[in-house]
Amino acid sequence: MMNIQINIDSKTYPAIAQARHHVAIADFKLSLKSGEFVCLVGPSGCGKTTLLNIIAGLDNDYEGDIFVGQAHSHPKIGYIFQNPRLLPWRTVRENIELVLDGNQSPTVIDPLLEVMQLTQSQHVYPERLSVGMSRRVSIIRAFAVDPDVLLMDEPFVSLDAPTARQVRELLLTLWQERPHTVLFVTHDLREAITMADRLIFLSAAPMSVISEITVPISRSERNNESTIEAFRQNLINNYPEIKQLL
């Protein structure tokens, strides 16, 4: 459970060979409260993955600063990458067990595998999984570490509707049981409204925040499809600045 202060003056990918240099993020400010669930919505290629990589500490080549949690403890990060990034030479189960730290028992995986319908496939190597199955493995991996900060980059694509619903519920249950800060990238506005405390709409490159909209729907009402739909219509009609994104 961590609050996060993001303050990126600019993130530039340098020019290489024929490719020109590219300013991916400019003047980006965002702060997340501890335990908040925030969704990012923005056009393809605007810089969402770049942002998550910076927050995860994988990319230090930017101007500005990021503050994650209390300075004295190292935050535990769960990151569902946009591609599953499984180790092809380890089985499903091994892939997940590898991220557990020493004092977690390997049995914590079992219920997660069960929910994701992967118990049957736990000893299979990733090359033998369908894309949706790999994605579910990568979701389990992120959940299994009991993260303080959970970064999710379009985690539910390639999942069929019932499975996606189930995983969303699981995520929310885990989040409510043990609150942690969640940053969630999605292109699906309905999904974003169902899940988020707050929606952040992003501009195309260089990426910055266009609009922040709090979702005032209570958690209990979230699985009512028509409430979601109504809020979506409201967004479409009353927020001209984000029209281009919907």
Binding site: G57, F81, R85, L87, W89, D101, Y125
Partner: protein
């Protein structure tokens, strides 16, 4: 195998020179040197040297290769040295080792290692450069320890390079160890082969060669093949 013997027999009969004795002659020589214990003794000595120098070269080579492949600055600095060491003639390395350290066992081993090491480094470095950054990032993000990253992320990706280095490495060491033994040891296959060579006793040379090839085949079947199988079982 049989085809090989047939081709050999054919060639031997056809050329009919003592430069290529027929298989049965070689078999007889082989059998005799086994009985006298000569062949097993020299083979054993050479194999011992091979194992020791191979282990040293592979361990060091992998470590340095990975370091150079991952660290561009280090690589730029050592690149020239590597090319130099790679291309120092076996002869020069062997002579210098012997001259500095005397005609002793450790000098022989050192000479082999000096010859083999740069090869391993180059191969492993090439492999390290192709490592998947996505997976490394994943490991970093999930706080894998160095050991864990090496064992589960880097090593499996290097496997084909390591197998390549092992296979061609055994062969290279074998080639070099012969010269090493020839120039300054009084036992081992190289020493023996040199004696046979002086006498132009090709039958004995082939008998010893076959013994060595058989050992390598054994290593291949007993160690390398199973390793390969284990490491590649995840492939479709």
């Amino acid at each position: 195998m049989l085809a090989f013997l047939a081709v050999w027999q054919g060639l031997a009969v056809y050329s009919n020179s003592n430069a290529l004795p027929a298989p049965e002659v070689v078999a007889k020589v082989f059998w005799q040197s086994c009985i006298t214990g000569q062949l097993p003794f020299h083979l054993g000595v050479t194999l011992l040297r091979l194992v020791v120098s191979f282990s040293i070269a592979m361990l060091l080579g992998c470590a340095i290769g990975i370091a150079l492949g991952r660290n561009k600055k280090l690589d730029a600095f050592f690149d020239n040295w590597l090319v130099i060491f790679l291309n120092i003639p076996a002869l020069v390395a062997i002579i210098l080792c012997y001259v500095w350290f005397g005609l002793v066992e450790s000098a022989a081993i050192l000479a082999v290692v000096v010859n083999k090491l740069p090869n391993v480094i180059v191969t492993i470095r090439e492999g390290t450069r192709t490592l998947d950054q996505d997976l490394l990032d994943m490991a970093r993000c999930y706080g894998f320890s160095r050991r864990k990253t090496l064992a589960h992320v880097i090593w499996p990706q290097l496997h084909p390079f390591i197998m390549g280095a092992t296979r061609s490495g055994l062969a290279l060491i074998w080639k070099i160890i012969l010269v090493v033994e020839l120039l300054g040891r009084s036992n081992g296959m190289g020493y023996q082969l040199h004696l046979f060579f002086q006498l132009f006793d090709v039958a004995s040379i082939l008998a010893y060669t076959i013994a060595f090839v058989a050992v390598i085949q054994l290593i291949e079947v007993m160690i390398l093949k199973p390793l390969d199988k284990k490491a590649l079982r995840w492939r479709r």
